[in-house]
Symmetry: C2
Subunit: 495 residues, 2 copies
C-alpha cells in the first residue's frame, strides 16, 4: 500500500500518522449525535473513495472533542466500523482505513497545474558589493555611518515601555505620524498626521499611488529610477519618459511638448538626487513644473528621498512646499537611518488619504508596530537630527574628496556633475568609451559599476554612470576611481 510518502519519515519517528479531517454536518451542535450517525458519516466518506486509504481515523479523544460528545460514543462507533471491515487496527497506532483492492494514488503523481505568472523586468541584480569588493554605484550610505547603537537603544526602550502593541495601525503609528508632520512643517510643508500614511520604504508608497490611479498614465524622468520603472510596468502603466540632463537640467520646453502630446495623469519626479542622474531640480524648474501641472492637468508625486542627505537642504523648498497639499509627497527613513528598517511614508491630503490607507490595508494591513514605535523614539529623542548633522559633515567631506579624486584621476574628456554634497553624482564619458567593456573589466577586479541602460526610455541620451561616494570609505573610493580611470584611459587610447 502506498502511504503519503512525504509524511512517512517524520510520523514513523513520532509514532503518529496523519489522520482524516471529517465533517459531520449540521447535527452536531446540540451534542445529540449518536454512534449510528458517526458510523454512517464515516462510512459514507470511505466507501468508494480509494484515495483516502492509508490515513487513519482521528484519535478518539480528538473526535470526542470536536463533536463535544463522550469518548465512549466515539469508541463505540469505531468498534462498529472495525466490525464492518472498513477500518483496521495497526500496531496500536490507531485505526486505519482498510486499503481497497484498487491501486492508491501516490503523492508524487498529482498533476496540479502551475500558476501562469506575468513577467516583470528585466530586473537588475542587486548592486550589493561582493565581500571585499568595491561598489562604485551604490545609492546607500556606508553602514559605519549609520546610528545602529542608538536605534538599538530606542528598541530596548520601546520593548520596556510602551511595550509590544497588539495591533498595527493601518495608517501608521499615530505618534510617529505626528512627529513626521511636525518635522515637515518645520521645512515649510503643510502637513498633518491625518494625511500621512507609513509605508514599507518609499517603494510601497510609489506602488500604492501608481496602482490606485484611475488611469495609470504616468510620466517620469528619462533615465528613470529603475525599480520605479519596473513597478510602473507591473502596474500596467502607460509611461512617458521626460528627458533629464544632469548637467543642464530639465528641458522644460521639450517636457511641455510631451505633456501636450501624451497628457499624463500623474508625473512622478525625484526632487533631489534623482536616481540615476543624481540631479536636483532648481527652484525655478520646480516652479515651472508646477505651472505645467496646472496647464496640462497632471497630478504630481514628489519623491524626496535625497534631500535629507544634503547640508542645508531644509532651507530649500520642495515641490510640496511650493505647490501645496495636492502634491503627493514621498520620503523614507531607511537609507538615512538603516536600510533594513523599511520605513517610509506618503504625505497625501484630505482627498486622497482614505483611498491610500484602504489600499495599504487591503494589500498589507500595516507595518510592524514596534518598528514604527522605535522610529518615533529615535525622532523624539532628537537622535535623527544629531545623526543628520554628523552625516552631512561626513558626506560633505566625501563629496569634496570625490571631486578631488575625479579632477586628479580622470582624463580631460570626462566630466561630472557637482550636486553640492549628498550621496551620488553623474560621470559622463566620451561616446567611444565602451561602458559595457569597462564594467566587465572592473567586475573581474571585484569593482561594481552599474551602467543603467534599462533606466532609459529608448536610446540613451547620456553616456555615463552614477557614482556613489557615500557608500565607500575614502580609501575604497580612491582605489575604485583609480581603476575606473585607468580603464577609461585605456578605452580612450585604443579606440
Amino acid at each position: 500500500m502506498t502511504l503519503l510518502r512525504e509524511f512517512a519519515l517524520y510520523f514513523a519517528q513520532m509514532d503518529r500518522q496523519p489522520y482524516l479531517r471529517l465533517n459531520f454536518g449540521a447535527d452536531t451542535s446540540k451534542g445529540r449525535i449518536t454512534v449510528e450517525q458517526i458510523v454512517s458519516v464515516i462510512r459514507a466518506q470511505i466507501v468508494g473513495r480509494t484515495a483516502v486509504a492509508g490515513l487513519r481515523l482521528p484519535p478518539v479523544r480528538v473526535l470526542a472533542h470536536q463533536l463535544h460528545v463522550s469518548k465512549n460514543t466515539v469508541q463505540a462507533a469505531y468498534e462498529e466500523l472495525k466490525s464492518q471491515g472498513l477500518v483496521e487496527s495497526r500496531n496500536r497506532l490507531g485505526l486505519y482505513i482498510t486499503p481497497p483492492k484498487a491501486i492508491q494514488k501516490p503523492l508524487s503523481s498529482w498533476k496540479i497545474p502551475f500558476p501562469e505568472f506575468r513577467n516583470i523586468g528585466p530586473l537588475e541584480a542587486s548592486a550589493r558589493s561582493r565581500r571585499g569588493g568595491i561598489n562604485l554605484s551604490s545609492v546607500f550610505i556606508d553602514p559605519d555611518l549609520l546610528p545602529k547603537e542608538k536605534i538599538a537603544s530606542c528598541f530596548r526602550s520601546v520593548l520596556t515601555s510602551p511595550g509590544l502593541s497588539f495591533y498595527s495601525d493601518y495608517q501608521g503609528y499615530r505618534p510617529l505620524r505626528e512627529k513626521i508632520a511636525e518635522r515637515l512643517r518645520k521645512r515649510g510643508i503643510s502637513a498633518e498626521a491625518d494625511h500621512i500614511v507609513t509605508t514599507i520604504g518609499s517603494q510601497q508608497a510609489l506602488d500604492l499611488t501608481f496602482r490606485m490611479l484611475e488611469q495609470p498614465k504616468i510620466a517620469t524622468e528619462n533615465p528613470a529610477y529603475h525599480l520605479a520603472k519596473v513597478l510602473l510596468e507591473m502596474n500596467d502603466a502607460e509611461m512617458v519618459g521626460l528627458p533629464l540632463d544632469p548637467f543642464t537640467g530639465a528641458p522644460l520646453a521639450k517636457w511641455e511638448e510631451l505633456f501636450r502630446k501624451h497628457r499624463p495623469k500623474l508625473v512622478y519626479l525625484t526632487s533631489n538626487f534623482q536616481n540615476p542622474t543624481g540631479y536636483s531640480y532648481t527652484t525655478q524648474e520646480i516652479q515651472q513644473i508646477l505651472e505645467l501641472s496646472e496647464r496640462y492637468g497632471f497630478a504630481i508625486l514628489e519623491d524626496d528621498w535625497g534631500s535629507d542627505m544634503m547640508s542645508f537642504s531644509e532651507f530649500r523648498p520642495c515641490m510640496r512646499a511650493i505647490g501645496g497639499p495636492n502634491v503627493l509627497y514621498v520620503n523614507s527613513f531607511t537609507k538615512k537611518v538603516l536600510p533594513s528598517f523599511r520605513l517610509g511614508y506618503l504625505l497625501a491630503n484630505e482627498n486622497s488619504v482614505e483611498t491610500l490607507v484602504n489600499a495599504k490595508r487591503v494589500s498589507a494591513f500595516g507595518m510592524p508596530a514596534v518598528i514604527e514605535a522605535t522610529l518615533f523614539e529615535f525622532l523624539d529623542r532628537g537622535y535623527y537630527d544629531s545623526h543628520l548633522k554628523q552625516l552631512h559633515a561626513e558626506l560633505d567631506e566625501r563629496y569634496r574628496h570625490a571631486l578631488d579624486l575625479l579632477r586628479t584621476l580622470m582624463p580631460p574628456e570626462v566630466r561630472w556633475t557637482t550636486p553640492g554634497g549628498g550621496p551620488v553624482l553623474w560621470v559622463e564619458v566620451p561616446e567611444r568609451v565602451r561602458l559595457s567593456v569597462i564594467q566587465e573589466r572592473l567586475k573581474a577586479k571585484n569593482i561594481t559599476l552599474a551602467v543603467k541602460l534599462s533606466a532609459f526610455f529608448g536610446e540613451p541620451h547620456l553616456h555615463g554612470f552614477m557614482l556613489g561616494y557615500a557608500f565607500l570609505k575614502p580609501k575604497e573610493l580612491e582605489t575604485g576611481l583609480e581603476r575606473l580611470a585607468a580603464e577609461i584611459r585605456l578605452e580612450l587610447e585604443t579606440r
Copy 2:
C-alpha cells in the same frame, strides 16, 4: 511682497530663509568656473522670472561647497549681482532676489490637479472592540494569551547578537526561511528555504499571487474572506464564488459545474477555519478538489492560517501536503504570535519563486530584517511550540465553553458548527430573525457582531454569523452570548 507664506513663521524664528536651488550646468566639474559664469547663470535664472522673487541666494559657503570653488569667487559674483540691482541685502539675512513690479504668485494660489484614484470597497470597518466593549466577531486571539514577554526577550537578544543588519533580504531572512521549511517538512509538506518568501502578513502573500497572475480569473469560497475579495477587486480579478456551507461542506458537484463554466485560472481556498464560515475542509474534500484541479486546469493557492490554532492539526494533511509543490501555500505567524508583527510567508516552488520574489522586491523590497531575525529566534528557542501547546489547551477550553453556552442559551431553532477547537465557528439563525436589527441593538450595548453580507457573491445562502471565541475572556463571551441570545429570542417571538 509675498513671501512663501508657509515658511514664514519657522524661518523668521530661525533667522534663516528658504533659498534657491541653482544649477550651473556642465562647466563646474573641473572647478574652473569663474565669477562671470556664476553671475551669468544666476542672472539668466532671475531675469524675467517673477515667481522666484522672495527667495534668497544660497549662502556663500553653500554655493562654494556645491561648486567646489573658493568662497571669494562666490562672494565676488554676489557683489556683482548686487551692483546690477538683481539682488539686495536684507538685515544680514542674506541676498534676496529683488522683487519685480509684477505681483508675486502666492503659495495658496497653486491649482495642482488632484490624482484621480479608483474606488475600492466597500471596506468593512475594522472590527476592533471599542474600549470596554465585547467583540463577538473577532478572528484574533485574546492578547493575554500571546507571548509578548518571550518575543521581547528574543528582540533583546537579536539586538545584542547578531545585531541590526544593514540590508533586508528581498526573499526573507535566510535562517528564518530554513526554520520555516524545517517545520513544514515535519508536517509532511515538501518545503525548501529557497522556495519560501516572507511577506507582510499573509495579506501581502495573497496580493503578490493575485497581481502576478497572467489571467486574474480567480475562484474562492462564497462567502469569501472579505479582505481577499476586496483585494481581488483591487487587482481587477474576474471572480467566481464557490458556495460553501459550514454544516455540510463544499458541494463539489456544484463546484465542478462552476469550474466547467468559468474555467478559473487559480482557486484560492482557506483549508482551515475559513473566514467567515469557520469551515475546515475534510481530507476527502481536499483530495476531490485536487482531482478537479487536474481536470479543469486551475492552480491552487492554499491559505492555512487556521491550522496552527487547532490541537493535533499537525497530523492532518493540508492541500500542499497531498497535492505537492505546485500548490501555493500561505501561512502567517501574526495572529498566533502577535498581530502587530506582520510576518507571513508564501511557500512557492522552483518555477514560481523568482516571480514572487521580484514582485515583492519591486513593490516593497523586503520586510524589516530585525522582525524576521526575532521570529527566527522565537522559533529556534522552541518558544513557538511551547506557546502553541498552551494556546491549544486554552482555545480547547474556550471552544468547549462556547459550545456549552450556546447549548444553554440559544433557542432550539438556532444551530452552529462544531469545528473541533480553534478560534471561530458559524451560528445559523432562522430566516425571520433580522440580523441587521440584532446587530444594531447589540451595538447600542457596546457589543460588536459582524454580519458579513459583503462576503457573499450575490444573495447569501446562509443566514448567520461567525462567532469568535478565542478573543474573549470566558466571562465576556458569556455576557455577549446572553445578550445575543436574548435579542434572537426577541426577534423569534415578535416576528
